[in-house]
Symmetry: C2
Subunit: 192 residues, 2 copies
DNA sequence: CTTCACATGTAAAGCGTTACATGATTTG
DNA sequence: CAAATCATGTAACGCTTTACATGTGAAG
């Protein structure tokens, strides 16, 4: 067990409020999406494991509510779960080394491949531009929904990281497009 | 087979010059280290697979050289290998979604955990500062060793990405440390 | 003669995604 | 009633790291 981050992502979400596996998936592709993501293949087995270890427990069905669905399985964090979460939070994060397939392609670039590489750079620019827009939208939602919440500064800090990252990527795209456009096309003819 | 990037990282390195598995490992923790890394567990089986597919071939031992070691197995890329590499280079890169254990910890932060989180941020700042220094050193080496090489602009572009990324991280560390220091410690006492 | 760097390889385990399989409920 | 969304779960596959196992050659 190297980092077991999935466990703590789930535990953390359940520390905010009780959720189902489906809810966790949704949250991970919404508020967490700019720095984390979990798939069902990870979530459901992990929920079962956490329940076995008594770090979470299945809540009684919220069947009192009119629209409540019988099939939902909602989990809540336990006191032991909160302790485990706090202990994990203190541990130094172990980030995976950065990898980029784009930079890998660039590294092996030459005059023949430059046009293709410029296409890749343009695609990244478009993606990062879209990302920037979605960050701004998410920030507005956070501020609106989390107004007064003590968690708001923490949420915004994670978002800010994404924004700065995205801006850096955009700057790099522009710089690189410029630098590559200035490169000789084939074997340059030496002027007399 | 989703991306099979390892194959092409190896193929790319062998397109620069013939290498052994050990050389590839070294290159990946040197010139490629800021955006790629391969471990032995990936390299040796992949070399065998590429050789089976005739995309690379084992060179005859360079036993003429005095210091040549009998145990080395040096591989060279074939014409088919170069074609495969060029085709891969044209394919749009598929980047893994960004993940950060640090941001995951931050997202679940509160007043009790803030001091710990500030420690994590300070650690990141130290790491990124060191990274910046190593980037500058690598850049000087690239310029010195690759002077006149047509590959130099491509190598520097990959490095530049790392530099901008690192600078963005440093800015975020400073911003975040400042924002978190301004947060109330516990339940703030309201002054009359 | 010991230590370090060179060098090749395998095995095990964990991480993570994708596809599959199934069915309920709501909305148009 | 059809389509979209809600909802749970498993299986297969591939990726990646870590640890292990083994041995050579050079330098201090």
């Amino acid at each position: 067990m190297r980092t077991a981050s999935t466990r703590f992502a789930i535990l953390g979400l359940l520390s905010l409020e009780p959720m189902s596996g489906y809810d966790i998936r949704r949250a991970s592709s919404d508020a967490l999406s700019h720095f984390w993501h979990e798939s069902y293949g990870q979530i459901y087995p992990t929920l079962a494991a956490l329940a076995r270890e008594r770090l979470i427990r299945e809540s009684p069905r919220a069947s009192t509510q009119p629209g409540a669905r019988a099939t939902r399985r909602v989990y809540a964090i336990t006191a032991a779960g909160r302790r485990a979460l706090a202990a994990w939070q203190k541990r130094p994060p172990r980030e995976r080394p950065f990898r980029s397939e784009l930079l890998l392609r660039l590294f092996f670039g030459d005059t023949r491949s430059t046009p293709t590489l410029l296409t890749h750079v343009a695609r990244l620019k478009a993606e990062e531009t879209a990302r920037g827009a979605s960050y701004r939208a998410l920030d507005q939602r956070l501020v609106a929904e989390g107004a007064g919440s003590p968690s708001l500064p923490y949420w915004r800090a994670t978002l800010r990281y994404g924004q700065l990252r995205s801006e850096a990527a955009l700057r790099w795209c522009d710089e690189t497009a410029l630098a590559f456009s200035a490169l000789p096309r084939r074997k340059p003819r030496v002027r007399p």
